[in-house]
Symmetry: D2
C-alpha cells in the first residue's frame, strides 16, 4: 500500500454560504454531518469517514485545504519527514471534526494540505442506516446522489515543479501528462491507487498561484451523470460542460459552477491502472487540439476559469 491512502476531506470556501450549502445538500445530495464555527461538514452516501467536504463561509471562493489520509501512523511519519525536508512544512495542528493530529504544508504553488492518519469512521443515525451492512449509509437518491469525493484538480503556475513534489515527497504515481511543443508541462494526472486520477495539476492560464480548477464527486454510472445534467438544468446550476468523455484518463464528466463560484464535477468511468510500473502517457499539444474523447471541442472557460477569481480578469 502507498503511504498516502486517499485524499479528503477538502475544505471549500464560498462567498455564498447558504446557497452553496443548499447546492451540496439538495442538488448534489450530500448530508450535513456536522456544523461548527461557520462551516458545514458534508458527506456523500459512500464516504467511510464522517465527511469529505468542509464548506466554509468566506469573502472569496477556492480551496482552503486538502486533507490527505496516510495509510498508517508509520506512513504518516515517513511522509511528514519527507515534506519537512523540502522546507514546505508548516507544522502540526490538532486536526478538525472527525480527524486527529494533522500536519499542515503547502505545495510549491501554495495550496495547503493536511496530512493525518487518525480518523473517525461514520456511524449513521437511525434514519440513514443502510440495508446492506457493507455500505456506510443509506442511499437516499436525493439530487445527483454523489457517492464519494473522487479527485481534486488544482491549478499551478509551474505544473512540473508541483508534480515532482507530489511524486517525490508524497509518493503519488504519475499516469498521464500533457507536454506542450515548447517542453512546458501543462497538466499531470496522478494517483496513489489504481484509480486513474486522484490529484491533478494543470497550468493556471493567468499564472496565478494556489487556485482550484475543480473538485470532483463520484457516481457509479454514466446514466447518473446524464441524470445529474437534468438536475443541474432544472435547478438553474450553470452547466459549463455537458456530459461527455475526456480523452485524458477517459473519465466521463459533467461540469458546473456551485453558487459560490467553484467548479464542481460529477464524474464516473475512466480506467483502473493495474500495471505496477506503467509507462506515463504523454499527450502532445496537437493531440490536445483534437478535443475530448469523442472530438468535442473543449469549452474555452475550461482552460481559464479557476477559483478564487484573479483580480482584473
Amino acid at each position: 500500500m502507498m503511504d498516502i491512502a486517499h485524499l479528503g476531506p477538502a475544505e471549500l470556501l464560498t462567498p455564498a454560504f447558504d446557497e452553496s450549502l443548499r447546492f451540496f445538500v439538495d442538488v448534489m445530495g450530500m448530508e450535513v454531518e456536522a456544523q461548527q464555527g461557520g462551516s458545514a461538514y458534508l458527506r456523500a452516501w459512500g464516504d467511510y469517514q464522517r465527511h469529505s467536504l468542509k464548506l466554509t463561509a468566506s469573502e472569496t471562493s477556492g480551496l482552503a485545504v486538502l486533507g490527505l489520509r496516510a495509510s498508517s501512523p508509520e506512513a504518516l511519519e515517513r511522509r511528514v519527514a519527507l515534506v519537512e525536508a523540502t522546507g514546505l512544512g508548516a507544522g502540526w495542528h490538532d486536526g478538525d471534526v472527525g480527524r486527529g493530529p494533522s500536519y499542515r504544508f503547502r505545495d510549491p504553488d501554495g495550496h495547503a494540505f493536511d496530512l493525518y492518519y487518525e480518523t473517525e469512521r461514520y456511524s449513521p443515525p437511525e434514519h440513514l442506516r443502510p440495508s446492506l451492512k457493507n455500505q456506510p449509509q443509506r442511499y437516499t437518491g436525493r439530487g445527483c446522489a454523489v457517492k464519494r469525493l473522487d479527485h481534486c484538480n488544482v491549478l499551478a503556475e509551474d505544473v512540473r515543479a508541483n508534480r515532482m513534489f507530489a511524486t517525490e515527497a508524497l509518493g503519488y504515481r504519475l499516469y498521464e501528462r500533457i507536454e506542450l511543443d515548447d517542453g512546458t508541462e501543462a497538466g499531470a494526472w496522478m494517483s496513489v491507487t489504481i484509480a486513474a486520477h486522484e490529484l491533478i495539476y494543470t497550468a493556471d492560464a493567468y499564472g496565478a498561484r494556489g487556485r482550484l480548477h475543480h473538485l470532483a464527486f463520484w457516481v457509479d454510472t454514466r446514466e447518473e451523470c446524464l441524470r445529474a445534467a437534468d438536475i443541474f438544468l432544472d435547478n438553474d446550476v450553470h452547466i459549463e460542460a455537458a456530459p461527455s468523455k475526456h480523452a485524458i484518463a477517459q473519465g466521463f464528466f459533467l461540469y458546473g459552477y456551485e453558487p459560490g463560484g467553484n467548479r464542481i464535477e460529477v464524474t464516473t468511468g475512466g480506467y483502473l491502472q493495474y500495471d505496477p510500473d506503467p509507462v506515463t502517457v504523454v499527450w502532445t499539444e496537437e493531440e490536445r487540439r483534437l478535443g475530448q474523447a469523442w472530438r468535442v471541442k473543449t469549452v474555452e472557460t475550461f482552460h481559464t476559469y479557476g477559483t478564487p477569481p484573479v483580480a482584473g480578469t
Copy 2:
C-alpha cells in the same frame, strides 16, 4: 388515431392512506397536485394531465376505477355507444378533479372504467416550472422519479371474455397472449398505441373478480429501474421481483408492494409495435415455464397475489 388515446388516471384504494401517500411522494417521487374528500391526486413529472393517480383511503386495497381518455368528442360518443350496446354501461357522471363528463362502465369481470374526453392540462406552479418547454414539469429527481403512468394489469376470472370486450367495444389491439395446453387464455397484452402493452388481463388464480394485479409507472432507462431497486431496499419497500426482463412484451421490471398492499411496477424498455396489422404472438404453457427473458424463474406470488385480498386465502 384510435378512439381511445390512453389510460389514466387510475384510482387506487388503500387501507393505509398516510403510508401509501408517503410511498408515492417520497419513494416514487410523485407530486400531490390536489387533495379532496379523502383522496390525494398525484402526478408524475412527465404527465401532461394534472394527475394520473388518485389515491383513496378505504377499508381495503385494489383498483377503484381506471380512466380512459378518448381521442375526440366523436371518439368518445362512438365508444360509449358500443359499450352501451353490450349492456355493461352504468351511465354518465360529472367527472372528477381535472376532467369532465365521464361515462362509467364495468368490464365483464367487474372492473370499473371511466370514459372521458375533456381534461385539464397541467400548469406547473413556479417551483415546478421546467427548463425545457416541451416538458410538463420540472424534473425533481426525488426517489424513483417516475415519469408517467404506463400500464395497468388487471386480473380476471375469464381472460378471453374480457380481452374480447376490450378489443371489440374499446378498440384495443392485441399484441401478445398466453394460451395454455387446454386452450384456456391465461393472459392478454393490449394497447391502443405502438407501445407494446397498456392494458393487460391475466388469470386470477383464485377465480375471484375485479381484482388488480399491478399498476406500472414508467422510467426512461433500465438504470433508473436498477436505481429504484436500491431506493425500494433502503425504504423498506417489499421487493417482490428484483429488476429483470420479461419474456412477454420484453418490458424491464421492478415489482414491489406499496404500504396499502397494491403491487406497483417501475417499468421501462419493451418494444414499439409499428406494424399496423401485426400477428399476435401466442405463448404456450411450455414456453412460460422457461421463466422470464433471461430464464429467471418467476416468483410464485406473482402468479397468485392481487388486490384486494381474497377472503380465506
Copy 3:
C-alpha cells in the same frame, strides 16, 4: 390508427458503395437481407419488415426515396387520393424487394416518397433466429447494433409549405416547430404515432431543394448511444456531434457521416406524446441560441451540411 403507419424503407445514395456497405454492416450492425441491381437491402435486428434501408451506388449522395407504409388498403387509397389532388403525384409502380404496389410522389421541396401497404414480414434464416418469439431477429450485438430505422430529417427551402403538405395530405401530426423572429418557420417535428418525431423538415441553409439532413437509427438505451461513439471513434467514422441531448423533442443523439457523406444518427430517448390533441411547442430564435438541452452549443455544420453537396459550397 393514422392512415400512415410508419416510414421506411429509406433508399440512400452513396458514391462509395463498398465503404458505405461496410459501415452499415460492421459499424451500425445491420444485416444484408438482399442484394439486387447495384443495391443492398439492409435490416436492423428489430425491423419487422425484411429491410428498412436500401443502399444504392450512385454518383452522389442523398436520399433517393422514402417509403411510407399505410395502415390498410383503404388508408392507402385515401392518402393517394389526397396526394393526387395536390398535383404532386407521379403514379404507381410495382414496388421493390419486399413490398408491393407503390405510389410515387414528391413533396413540394422535391423529395421522393413511395406510399404502399403490401409488405413482406421478415422470416429469419437459422443463424439469425431469435430466442424470444416476439423479436423478429436474433440480437447479434455487432457494432452499434441499431434496432430499427427511427426517423428521417430532410432539408427544405420552404419548411412551412412542406410541413403543411405533410400534415394535410399525409396526416402527420405536428408536435414541435421553430419560428424565427421574422416569422419564418425553420423546423417542424412531425409524427404519425406517439413517438415524438418521425419526419422532420428543417431549413436548407443554401436554399437548395430535395436534400437530406440525416437518417436516424434507434437503440434502446443512452448507454448504447455512448458505446456507439466509442465504436465510431475506433472505426474512424467522422463524429460531427458527440452524444448529448436535444432540446427539441429531447432525443439523445450521436451524429456521424457514413463513408458516402450522408449524416447518420444513432438515437434514443425523447418522449411519447399521449395527448391526442397536443398544443404544438413553438421554439423562438432566442431559445434556439441556448443550444441543446444541456446548453451544448450546436456545431456549425449541423446547420449547413446536407446531402447531396450543393455545387460551389
Copy 4:
C-alpha cells in the same frame, strides 16, 4: 503498493476446446493473441499485458493455474520467500508466452499459482490500434466486449485456512467474509487493491479440493451486463443467474457456463475500498438467507456447482 499487483493470466481447462474458444472470441469478445501447444492465449481490450486468459484443451474442466504479478523484483523475492517458508512452494519455471520466470506453488487447498514479475506489455497490430493512446487496444465492441479479467473465485474444503494463507503469505487484504452459525468460514473476499474483490474463496459443497467456482471478466457499466445477458441468450449460452446485484461486495453480475463447463461471470459495479485499515464485514448465516442485494433468492447450483465435476455427483 502491495507486493502483489494483480492476478492473471488464468489458465482454464476445457474438454471442448473449439467451442470454448468460439465462446471467448465471439460471445465474450476477446482476441486470440497467441496460439501454442494446444493452448490459445486470449486478451480483453483493456488488458495491458498480452493476454489474461490461457485456454487449454484437456480431458476435464477447471482452473489449471492462476498467475499473480508482483509489483517489483523485490516484491517477488519477498513473496517467494514467504511462500517457501510455508512448505507449499513447488519451485521456479521459465514462465510462459508473455511473461518471464515464474514461481509455482499451491494454496492449502491445492490450487496452483504462478508468481512472476517480468511481463510483456501489449503492442497492438494495425487493425487493433486504438484511437486513444491511453487504451491498450481498439474497442471492437464484439459480443460482450469484456474489458479485462477482474477476479477469480475458487472453491476450498477449508476456507479459513486458505484465506489465512492468502493474507499472510501473499499479503491479500480481507474485506468481507461469511461466518456460519457454527463458526465455519463459508466465504472470504480479498483484494490487493482498492477494488472490493479480486480473489475469493468459498466453501466447496462436496468438500472437494482445488476446484473453480468462477472466473469474472469486467465491463464498465451495468447496461453492458444486461446487454451481455441478451447476447448469452441468443448464443445459447446457459444462463445460471441473470443480471442482478450481490449483497456481498455489491458486484453486479451475470453468470453462465462456457461450453467447457466452467462458470464465467460478466461483472461490474461494487465499491472501492479507500480505507487503509477497514473493519472486515462479516455476514451471518441468517443474513445470507435474505438472498442477493435486492432479495433475489440465489439459484441452488450457485452453491454447489464447480469445475472440474466431482465424481459421482
